[in-house]
Subunit: 638 residues, 2 copies
Amino acid sequence: MNYTEEYGLPSQISISEYLFHRLNQLKIWTIFGLPGDFNMPLLDKLYSIPTMRWAGNTNELNAAYAADGYSRLKHLGCLITTFGVGELSAINGVAGSYAEHVGILHIVGMPPTSAQTKQLLLHHTLGNGDYSVFYRIANDIACHTAIINDTDLCADEVDNCIRAAWGYQKPVYLGVPVNQVDIPVDSSRLNNPIDLSILKKTKETDAQVIDLLLKQMYSASKPIIVVDACVRRHDALKETHALCELTNFPVFVTPMGKGTIDESYKNFGGVYSGSLSSPEVREVTDFADFVLFIGAILPEFSTSTFHFGFKKKNCCILFPTSVKIKKATFPDMLLKGTLQSLVDTIEPSKITYKHQAKVDIIAPKMEPSDSNLLRQEWVWNEISHWFKENDIIITETGSSAFGINQTRFPTNTIGINQALWGSVGFALCSCLGALFAVEEKTVVKHNLEIKLRNYNRNIFTENRTILFVGDGAFQLTVQELSTIIRWKLKPYIFIMNNNGYSVDRFLHHRSDASYYDVQPWNYLYLLELFGCTSFETRKIVTVSDFKELLADESFAKPDKIRMIEIMLPQSDVPKTLIARWQAEKELSNKRAGDFSENSSENSSPTIDPHWVKKQYLGPVTPTSSLSTELHSRSQMYL
Amino acid sequence: MNYTEEYGLPSQISISEYLFHRLNQLKIWTIFGLPGDFNMPLLDKLYSIPTMRWAGNTNELNAAYAADGYSRLKHLGCLITTFGVGELSAINGVAGSYAEHVGILHIVGMPPTSAQTKQLLLHHTLGNGDYSVFYRIANDIACHTAIINDTDLCADEVDNCIRAAWGYQKPVYLGVPVNQVDIPVDSSRLNNPIDLSILKKTKETDAQVIDLLLKQMYSASKPIIVVDACVRRHDALKETHALCELTNFPVFVTPMGKGTIDESYKNFGGVYSGSLSSPEVREVTDFADFVLFIGAILPEFSTSTFHFGFKKKNCCILFPTSVKIKKATFPDMLLKGTLQSLVDTIEPSKITYKHQAKVDIIAPKMEPSDSNLLRQEWVWNEISHWFKENDIIITETGSSAFGINQTRFPTNTIGINQALWGSVGFALCSCLGALFAVEEKTVVKHNLEIKLRNYNRNIFTENRTILFVGDGAFQLTVQELSTIIRWKLKPYIFIMNNNGYSVDRFLHHRSDASYYDVQPWNYLYLLELFGCTSFETRKIVTVSDFKELLADESFAKPDKIRMIEIMLPQSDVPKTLIARWQAEKELSNKRAGDFSENSSENSSPTIDPHWVKKQYLGPVTPTSSLSTELHSRSQMYL
């Protein structure tokens, strides 16, 4: 039975139905966004397909973040907003998807074509008759933009948009004027799957590139492989793993690529983050004579402050659509295809490199007693032991993003973070998106005959979705918790409560500045307030609280939503953040010429490293002043 | 004692201190925003001036809305965000200020100049080395943009930015690279007040315009004056009132101008909103042979669907910086000056118009019994009697924005709404901004020696700040309630709970569509959850509940924060919204040529007007099905 028969479609359907059927074919079943004046006729069409569901987010920025989280697991996220107010509210989230290579189809319900032509001064306009301004703005953060207008070509245009978002893993902007929602198109197009290929390889270049790459891989005596985020984005996991096996090279992940390589893999070396890497990692990477960098997210990283500091001469970089070998760039090379060619061609016997035993990267440095209060350093090492296979682990920009790099991920763990764009508030919403995606994977796997859109379904997923978010960050997008509850999704939400924006407090070295403070909330009451009926909440203050939590077997099963408030001292940060501070200090000294001219004391810190060590490392006993501060906070609403 | 002596300033201060001192001189004491990597050195400078305070919002969009609300009372709002993530999160709020003519100084902390020049791939960038993209985007929604770079001219540039935002009542974008925060400037500049004048009038044009205007005002036999929002924005209240007195013409306000004219004024005729006006209003306005439109916010409104439908030939329009008389536009005419010239020149004896008794606009149509459930129609008429002089009344886009137009404002009431831009979620945050502004006016009036930035101060303001917000809209920006609590501000928050996005439900005529639903929250628990210790909450279900509330004298005193949940039937909208629906229906019939071609049933509704009347008007008794629905909702968490 072909698609139109299966869905009982007439020979002609509307372009908006066509659009949603195309998404349905790719199993993109959850659509994110808010209703608005100009997108409602479009939303009505969504409901004609039984598997499709409307997430119904609480605001547009949250919706954009959620679509991003969903896309990181399903290869494409779809966001629908309304003209002007809606699309602009979402724009920071879409820009994040652009920066981080995440495929997003952003559909904007627009005023009728006639109103645009006549420059009518509708609401949601700037009042100056300029209807193109938002489209113009969108151009800067999209790999492709289009507006549905042409009756003959609109179905092709929809396919183009989906193909571009899927293939380039970047946002695409598609405007749908409210009067164009019903343009008729032939439904028979749906009987041919959409062509998702974006580039056609030229054979000659391919051979030349493979030849150049292999030559270096064969001759290197101290080679490494570094795996970045685009390996997962561009669906090249299998090929990457195969290449690692065939070469036997030590393999590292970037912070954004963490979770891409099985961390129990025999050659896994740890998280490589340039000068911020651990001494164990640097011992290998700093002396590499060849680096194969796979799935790089940044077009250049030698100039980045927080990314990598390779010597270019030893480095070959596989980007999503090009390859860079030393100084030469080869365009139109798709990551997955290039890797496959390497795997097909490589002759392992020609490899010079002799396998060496890997170094272990996790070594807990602290053995606090049970009555001790918590410290980031200890918590992040400890939580590693609680992680399980197939976990989805989401970390917020802030101390969690640093802490997570000192954990070890079990097999098939997927990590989600926003290390480049770094928009605070992202994590909670992307957690919602990930939860939808995980649920849909379960539905597919078990052929569950469930209408996904039913709020009262109860689907048990094998994957646990685990969020780490700071108290400050949590406040930015708190209302999206309500959407998680509405859909009866079951994440673990660890609120790392350190009384405000502690990372900034640390990096800017102004622990007294009141702009880092946030209003203290009774976080654990939120679930009930938002209408949740089945949940568990815990407040964790001491080392023994934390140990008990991790030892509790019922806690480990993701059968309800759980919120855990981890009380941490205000002046406590993960080890990796201290490393970043030191690196930034070195860098700012190096750049003294730029910075010192007009800089304030605060923008180029002159802190005694011993002070930092004393302040931010080592165990805390309940008699210290920090513990008083923390106890008074944790008692506040007990 | 001059300014530098008063503040004990050295001869040279940093450009950032200079900026904040300039704002301090204009009594712009509250700065909105969030800290971020690139704005922290700037924020440190803020704290050097004892009166200045940092609001510390919960996210950037909320901060932009709050700055907008503040500016509507104080003529200028200042917003500080960080590069990329921060400024983009705020952009929808800033675009709203652009559309609605609200003066905003948006300061963005940028990466150091050297990083920009070298295209370093810092976080908060798109990862493509393009540092100009956000500045480019800002250009479309600002009347002036600048980046602090030049040591010699930077103080002039700061003055330019403040002048433009103040004078044109539009957003201004000012980028401050983190390494430019300390550029030294002469503090003695501060001893001369900033020149805020934006245009120098040319005398000849002025005389010609005044002459043309007066000729028509003298000869009209059925003249009216319509007052729009820019009268307040451009500080022309006094002149407008004087002109009304001298002419004795009937005077109306637009929905956005509501509150600008004293509604107990003898010639006040009501709210004029074109074809949506009440029959009483249309009786006068439809037959006008001359319209003096003062402080118009839109450059053109004859083409607007929801604004006005004047015949151009009878209309003279005073814009903020120009005058339009029939088809002729006279540029460079400042509103305030033009009005003053009119007032100075007019000879009332030459006026043809004979004063007529005005019609009354409020006539309650419904007399429900005490046990009846509430209806929008009755609630909005009733609440009018509770309003007092000097109230600040803020309404959200949605049913409140329509309902408020059927209330009568007492003397000196100020209305805040976002009728043109219509961004849902605006009202709660602009309420925060208004609360700060009101508090500062009280401080000035009573010479209170209070450091404003102290969280523990307790200032009793004469003005009550009253917010009406729907349950759906409230969810979009809920966290800003936390900032209101943090600063111990004392608004009345009326949550008009009609179970979702009812306005859209009504206008789109799809009462069953689930995308209008929102997750039900236990709204009244929020205050405590966000850490509030002194408050009052009430849930109002019946007519007698509502009458008791309004009769309670202690309730009328703004001595603590109050949250009142008004339970309304889901399918209930204010009368003015039904008028809008009818007008849109007429319009869509007129435009059938455009709309019917490819339109869905839903985009051009074909509803029986009798159905609408039956569904949305008339009293409800607790035995009806509506009441069952409502009761079940209201019992849910009692």
